[in-house]
Symmetry: D2
Amino acid sequence: VPAPETAIRYRVPFFDTDAMQVVHHANYVRYLELVRVQYLEDHDAPYARYIEQGLHFAVTRCEVHYRRPARFGDELVIRCWLQRVGGASLEIGYAIERGEERLATARTQHALVDLDGRPVRLAPERRTALQRLVAQPR
Amino acid sequence: VPAPETAIRYRVPFFDTDAMQVVHHANYVRYLELVRVQYLEDHDAPYARYIEQGLHFAVTRCEVHYRRPARFGDELVIRCWLQRVGGASLEIGYAIERGEERLATARTQHALVDLDGRPVRLAPERRTALQRLVAQPR
Amino acid sequence: VPAPETAIRYRVPFFDTDAMQVVHHANYVRYLELVRVQYLEDHDAPYARYIEQGLHFAVTRCEVHYRRPARFGDELVIRCWLQRVGGASLEIGYAIERGEERLATARTQHALVDLDGRPVRLAPERRTALQRLVAQPR
Amino acid sequence: VPAPETAIRYRVPFFDTDAMQVVHHANYVRYLELVRVQYLEDHDAPYARYIEQGLHFAVTRCEVHYRRPARFGDELVIRCWLQRVGGASLEIGYAIERGEERLATARTQHALVDLDGRPVRLAPERRTALQRLVAQPR
């Protein structure tokens, strides 16, 4: 049984492009957020539920490898999976694809924090549940 | 004595451009905010002080006329002035220029609202002070 | 027979919000582009085909009325229709809705331009075809 | 003699914030571009000159470590320096600071490419000149 993954489809809007006529590289970081929020909703809890509890998964690290450019109108698939679960942190892996081509890979690290930005430990049962989701990149 | 105006200089960053190789039109709306915040700080109060009081000037209307495109690296001047003060609202006028050329004009309308989005009347002394700032477009 | 309209669904991503905890008003201008591109593809021609011919519908005017704020995770419906067709220009109308609530209305005007930004007249048969699409706002 | 560095001042605009009331993490990637473009202009050549020659420094990798959040109105200093020069590539280091606090560090890697995205080797004299600029992070 493969560990869970979430994939979303995303059609590149014109406003994501820049004067090189490709998607501006900063926008990929937004794409990661789109699929990450969907992943949490599919496999853990809607992000809004964290917010209601005064919690956020603050991004502590983000790393993107850009291989090929995406362009206006491209139909992308953005996938993510959980790579690691710590006491108060997560690491998520990503791939951005257009058909058979891999355009980018990425990973982000997150700390669970309260509204003042202080680290909060994951409740043990949530941590255990999240650890069961940990997957290897395809 | 001319009524007050605020002007800021802004150099167009690469990330503001799109695949037409000009500034994407949605970014002009951000330019208006940049100069508006500076205007309030120069002539009224820092916007942060409104926020501390649980108040915001919500944008209720925004209208931009685009005349000529701006490009990466352009040195723009963005100007604004107060056009009208109502009981719980403001109207601000804008011009975006590159040297002698006028690239765009705009106006925005704002309602003073509390954190729940409910309209709040301007305090009489603030309203009077703001009305003294009302200017005609140059 | 009602004249054509295009509607897209859009779920508000976290990165569209601002520190007022609502969608930043400049992002609505992007939402208009999303549905406008889809409208042209549904009823006229994919925007990429204009670009291949060295043509763009430059935005010459944009006007948004903001009625109620949208928030993270909201499921929006963004609709547009053609309001007017000139010799080298178009006017498009928009509504942004969340369920029964109308959050914003807007209109944009566009000039058909070549890659140097010079106005280009619509070919007569395209103009006629577009004029048949002109609709009244619902 | 310390190797060159470029520092810019940047005041956080409201539109850079998100509903966590801090700067959205994707915007830091834009901040890196702002200072990188200035660095090239200060120490190498205006980026527009690369573009005129049909060249771009495509971003091949971007890594950001987020330590503390930035907020609306914060006065940031964004610094960068050249970390490594390859045959057709560069690596740049960054620090984002608010007064004495370090909010983030980052590095980006770039490949010199032509308009079709194909790698282009740095001319030997440019490469030598760039190598003289290589600096260690402070």
